[in-house]
Point group: C6
Amino acid sequence: MTSWLPTLITATPEAGYELAVKLARVAVKMTQADPAVRDRLRADYAEDAEALIAVSHVVAVHFATVAAANGYWRGDA
Amino acid sequence: MTSWLPTLITATPEAGYELAVKLARVAVKMTQADPAVRDRLRADYAEDAEALIAVSHVVAVHFATVAAANGYWRGDA
Amino acid sequence: MTSWLPTLITATPEAGYELAVKLARVAVKMTQADPAVRDRLRADYAEDAEALIAVSHVVAVHFATVAAANGYWRGDA
Amino acid sequence: MTSWLPTLITATPEAGYELAVKLARVAVKMTQADPAVRDRLRADYAEDAEALIAVSHVVAVHFATVAAANGYWRGDA
Amino acid sequence: MTSWLPTLITATPEAGYELAVKLARVAVKMTQADPAVRDRLRADYAEDAEALIAVSHVVAVHFATVAAANGYWRGDA
Amino acid sequence: MTSWLPTLITATPEAGYELAVKLARVAVKMTQADPAVRDRLRADYAEDAEALIAVSHVVAVHFATVAAANGYWRGDA
């Protein structure tokens, strides 16, 4: 069976950021399971500055976790 | 007696994420003990983009804790 | 003299979560000392999804602290 | 000259929590220097559940810092 | 291929802060891909104190991550 | 060339707190570069309890970073 989250380890910081975006979205999906409703809400908040900043905030919290998991990709520096 | 939270250790990151969702929900239950009220509120906020993002934020904070508890599941990488 | 917070150490994760809930409530009491006002406000926000999520967020931040204090109760796993 | 913040070290968790409350208040004072305005605003938000929860959130963030500074007062356990 | 985020390591704290600002903005771009919409929203929230504080909050979370990644630039002190 | 942020190291916790306030303000300046607009917004939010609490929250996040950078000034205790 495939997991949507097999690991927090990513090859690069950029891939880690993309994982953080995914982690932020999954909780929304779990709370609102209907894709049609999510699409409608997404159209709304994509035009709402406060909501976009709030999304960015959630991504930031997850990115902190993913970055720590990866030892901040210090080997890439 | 069974605990709803016997441990923060999970076998996989995905199970850790599910635990984070649970941790976010329990505080709501403790503050609003009436399941009928919670169901009504849930129907409301599941249609509210700002509330869904706020839920995702709480999950992110708990996921950080669960991930740290599990050493970021680095052995799975 | 008895302290309301003698230690952050708890026997189990569940007890740690309950301590986090307590930690979230004490700051409210310190800011609004009148129990009658708090009871009235509580009746309001217990019916308000955004407020319930906000309460859950504060609990999440305190739970992170309590969990770290307890070494994530790894010995319980 | 006396500092309002000579140290983050406190004898007990309870004293650490009180320091966190103080840390949360000082930023407000620095942004709104007029005590009369602060008193008026305080009267308002002490009756506002969302604001009280927001205050509790800021205290939680500072408490995390103070608790870490004190090694979580583990010697008290 | 060039990455927008090749590393979290920066030469100075100031460069780390600039990276944090960038990290905060990218999530907004990923959620609202249309630059014209973003420009319009930006014009709005740049006049909105609450939104500016919210942006600053997201930057703070990313700065914590970048600072940790860089060992707080302690070698610069 | 002088940096506005040459280091996160400060002599005292109080100076660390002042640095946290500065770190919170710079992101606002970077998003709203016009000092006249900022002064107008500042006059507004200095009278708004929710905004003052939000500012205090951002300071708390930066203070956590600065305190960690300074090893919590434990040598001062």
